[in-house]
Symmetry: C2
Subunit: 670 residues, 2 copies
């Protein structure tokens, strides 16, 4: 064990015992990692981290990610000690209702928390997204003599993070992209919940990351500040490779049960709290003890931070003087603003005489129209860009030789794509999107959920959205996915019925600033609805709208469709009208947008008295009862799809106008 200055050592122990005491008081939480990783974290924060506790939103701050979110008290202790708006009372209120110190760090809830962590691997993968955004903005906005975007992304990761596949995906891509300003400190403590780590994780992590193209530093003694300092300096000096610093630590350091899984996820217990304090020479009383001189030292971060930001503001002014347009654009992007007239022409892209077009194709055209004005748009696909139609033509490829390209290439890594898109959104300055087939949305659910929880402006483009993709068969045909996305709180799901709705869908996605949006698009061509005869596609902004009424007055039956099945519903509706029924056809591209409308609007679209309702969607029926109730019916899928041409599948699985007509007739008792 190396010796640090006595003050540093006490600062480190302050972190440790704030965590220990908070967990003990809450009777819940994870003391082990804060006790083991306190030295690493303190060294980084005290010697290196560029941040301004008085303004956690300073755009050029370094980013710090605590990937093992269960060690939240480590972060809360640092935030409190360095002067963020997080009083000691909040730490004493750890894990209680409405406190600023929830069990796992929550972005947008606690000042200074850069990302919500807890599900392992996500913090690390999001950090890669942040480093990408930094690199992209630096490439676009830095000018000779004006390095106005210049910060480092640091992450602490745990053994558990290292075992998650999303970490592997993101690390491989980070190596390929040579993200030199990404520095990861690995808290390598040889313990996980079920057993010593080598029982399930005997791999050589250093060699693995080396294979990804990372610089490996260590293993070093994770309790030796000088070694950690030297390692971080070496990492900073390497500009062409991300760096992994392997720090050997001891979980629950100081506790009689240190180096065992016992100290991972439960309070130490009064006896072991006392024993740990005695072992590390810490006063037994008071709990939550922060020595004055320690606080005075760590709170210097406030002044340092203010000076750092002030210096940056001055540089920003000089930059704005020399490059006023660039500076204005950067500032607007960082604020998340859309430029004036950003959506000009968008809704006119597809006039009524447009040839039948897949909504994925319409989406691609809308996206390419948008990027001409919305410079912040940048994203890509998990190796399916030619199919997802998400290439921004003429906007370059982001990569080693060209970091200003708008087109990201994620490789066959859907999970990391989701997290990287989230990290880019968190960084701010870009509006990111990620694309794959809808069926593979299953690979990226954890980061989508986090984006919804954090309220990020992230956009997912999911194509090949039903059995309509045809011959690739049931592994590729989404059935439950659409409903499963709808079930995620604060995720807006939009499945446009045609090209005109696809353009509106992109508009809605860009207008949604407090949560992610999933666009769900067809592989197959669809007619472009003639809006001179049907309800305006503008209705998409309200989620659902009357597409067509066969007659005035209250309809006798309502058919509801989304996406490609809106056409099935419309055809069925016309047929029923020919048979003399009074029919309404509703296009319902987005449940979330519809459910957010005032009750009278919803009532005007779906009048309560009309109970003969048929929903048509080539997915699971489950969920549609929300709109059709116990007296209506759903024309949908009962099981998995099959491999055959799309038109055959629609016939065989009974999702046709005839099926909808028969179903409606049965409801009407005819």
């Amino acid at each position: 064990m190396a010796i640090q200055s006595e003050l540093d050592q006490r600062a480190i122990n302050t972190i440790r015992f704030l965590a220990v005491d908070a967990v003990q008081k809450a009777r819940s939480g994870h003391p082990g990692t804060p006790m083991g990783a306190a030295t690493m974290a303190y060294t980084l924060w005290d010697r290196f981290l560029k941040h301004n506790p008085a303004n956690p939103a300073w755009p050029d701050r370094d980013r710090f990610i605590l990937s093992p979110g269960h060690a939240s008290m480590l972060l809360y202790a640092l935030l409190h000690m360095t002067g963020y708006d997080l009083p000691l009372e909040e730490l004493q209120n750890f894990r209680q209702w409405a406190s600023l110190t929830p069990g796992h760090p929550e972005y947008g809830h606690t000042p200074g928390v850069e990302v919500t962590t807890g599900p392992l691997g996500q913090g690390f993968a999001h950090s890669v997204g942040m480093a990408i955004a930094e690199r992209w903005l630096a490439e676009h906005y830095n000018c000779p003599g004006h390095e106005i975007v210049d910060h480092v992304t640091y992450a602490i990761v745990s053994d558990g993070d290292m075992q998650e596949g999303v970490t592997s995906e993101a690390a491989s891509l980070a190596g390929t992209l040579r993200l030199g300003k990404l520095i990861t400190l690995y808290d390598d403590n040889d313990i996980q919940i079920e057993e010593p780590t080598d029982r399930v994780f005997s791999e050589n992590v250093a060699r693995r990351f080396e294979a990804y193209g990372w610089q490996i530093i260590g293993p070093i003694d994770g309790f030796d500040m000088a070694a950690i300092e030297a390692a971080i300096r070496r990492a900073q000096a390497e500009t062409e490779r991300p760096s992994l610093i392997i720090c050997k630590t001891v979980i629950g350091y100081g506790s009689p049960e240190q180096a065992t899984a016992e100290v991972h996820g439960s309070p130490l217990g009064e006896e072991n709290v006392r024993a740990a304090k005695e072992a590390l020479g810490w006063p037994l009383e008071p709990a939550f003890y922060v020595p004055d001189d320690v606080l005075a030292h760590t709170r210097q971060a406030v002044e340092r931070g203010q000076q750092a930001e002030q210096t940056w503001q001055q540089r920003m002014e000089a930059y704005a003087h020399e490059y006023p347009d660039l500076a204005a654009q950067l500032k607007a992007q960082l604020r998340g603003e859309l430029p004036d007239g950003w959506d000009a022409g968008l809704v006119d892209l597809f006039p009524p005489d447009t040839s039948p077009m897949a909504t994925r194709v319409a989406s691609g055209k809308a996206l390419n129209a948008l990027v001409e004005r919305v410079h912040a748009l940048t994203g890509g696909s998990a190796d399916l860009a030619p199919s997802t139609k998400t290439i921004l033509a003429g906007y370059g490829d982001f990569g080693w030789h060209e970091y200003c390209g708008h087109n990201m290439h994620f490789g066959v890594r859907e999970h990391a794509m989701g997290a990287i898109v989230g990290g880019m959104a968190l960084h701010e300055g870009v509006i990111p999107y990620g694309a794959t087939f809808l069926t593979f949305s299953d690979y990226m659910r954890p980061p989508m959920r986090l984006a919804a929880l954090m309220g990020l402006r992230a956009i997912y483009v999911f194509t090949h959205d039903s059995i309509g993709l045809g011959q690739d068969g049931p592994t590729h045909q989404p059935i439950e996915h659409l409903m499963n996305l709808r079930a995620v709180p604060n995720l807006t799901v939009i499945r446009p019925a045609d090209a005109t709705e696809a353009a509106q869908a992109w508009r809605a996605a860009l207008l949604k600033t407090d949560g992610p949006t999933a666009l769900v698009l067809t592989r197959q061509k669809l007619p472009v609805l003639d809006r001179t005869e049907l309800g305006s596609a503008e209705g998409l902004q309200r989620g659902g709208y009357v597409l067509w009424d066969s007659a005035n007055g209250m309809p006798g039956v309502i058919l509801i469709g989304t996406g490609s099945e809106t056409h099935v519903a419309l055809e069925a509706g016309k047929q029923l009208a020919d048979e003399g029924f009074s029919v309404r056809v509703v296009s319902m591209p987005s449940w979330e947008l519809f459910d957010r409308q005032p009750a009278d609007y919803r009532e005007s679209v779906l009048p309560s008295v009309v109970r003969a309702r048929v929903a048509v969607e080539a997915g699971v029926k489950l969920g549609w009862e929300r709109y059709v109730g116990l007296d209506g019916a759903v024309v949908g899928m009962e099981g998995f799809g099959a491999s055959a041409p799309a038109d055959v599948l629609y016939q065989k699985f009974g999702i046709t106008a005839e099926d909808a007509v028969t179903t409606a007739r049965a409801l009407l008792g005819k």
Copy 2:
């Protein structure tokens, strides 16, 4: 390019052009990989693979997994040529309705297909599960001089597979477990859909797998049979490490567009089909040409296979003679049979006076009771066993030093766990389970979906099933997950209300042989319902049942609960009864089981005329309209959870008996 025998070379070209012609005829499919990987696959199948085309179910066959499922025609060609029941007409009917040759290989649909593949990474990860099952069965059943379980698991993997996180997870675990009979051939062709592979995947795959503890062989020339043969022999000789054979190939070999992404996923086009045939010296006509001598050669597999199985059957008889009990048990396990009296005592585990108990704890007790009779039960957790209560006490740990342990340790690798459990189920002989927190089910959706599609007997144990887990907060509190599992076709989801239902839930899980089951369990304690006063827990087998009626005759209001909220519904029901309402309380642990009941049973539980219905579940409301319709109401979650003690959360989020009573009163207009 090495020279093979002229016959071998024509056999390889037969595979190539069967694929090319089938894709061309279907106007859909992926010719590139079959053209590139034909030599690897042919060498393996012709020189090594132990299989019996006349009996694809022979238990001691080697397993062959084609992880890039889009190359399905490669597999179909081999199956046809080696004499499986797959006539040439089926290959000519590629990707058509009801053909045996769907776009991606489907287990249970085409003889000889070991696993449904298509979503990348899954095939490889499932192969690890198969190798684990083989090792486990070998350890349990082989006796000195009787190696009755002794086969190799081979997989072909692609660049795309290598980029998926699930591959990393499974490979790391395979290395740790030293699965010496797992042999992976890597079709390394440097091309993926969006670009040359090095643009997004510059990592050194060999060094990465070496870091996992694998033997690395190659890179070798993937068109050189002698090199492939030597490599496979070397892999077979290594018994303590899995082997990765890196084969350099050329995608679309022979086509004018070889070595480009153009040949990946579309028909070559007539002109390039002709050019490819000319380039490789193949007759232009007929299409689907299989030379007689090639077929005669490859069909020798039939006789070889029959002899191999016959020899094994003789060895099995000798084994049965010497170890009759072991042999009988093994045979029963391979048939998936449960022993007589397998569930004896299970339903009596929790008498009415049992202290309050979390359903995860009850599940653990049921599981431990079951394993005493059901020897095939083996599984584990993704590093959460102490919390998921899935340890089989006294049944050992599966790992390097003890391969007969029933307790698997997956590490923090939920995704691989899902696939490995699937691979174990596919192998047959074991009844596998995997456990984690319900919120992390999001990490393992792709393999769960495949298990449902394949109809596997796999069991998922998901604990910490709601805000009831308390202080870990919103990242750990499932909201949408329960409904999202219910949306998967052929996945049975069971959320028991108490210990007695938990025992019944395990019973239902073991009885379900044609699809997976997810058990959804609480962290928090729940009272054990007094079945002398309430409906029998046996009702769980029907999915939903009347738990309590306040009076005879038609109820005025129905309250429906699942899991922990069944108690909320029951308390609310009693309160409403005290207020003079006629109330029914329904326990609805499994929608799938309930929806499968005859209409009259469902009507007897939820009479159509009773429209005042309140569902209570601490998850999304979406979906519950299936049972409560437009006139009922749901007491559930509107958004994400929060970090606080569970009882506080139930109060704050309004999921209490009082909330249910108020809601019911409102429905009744009182």
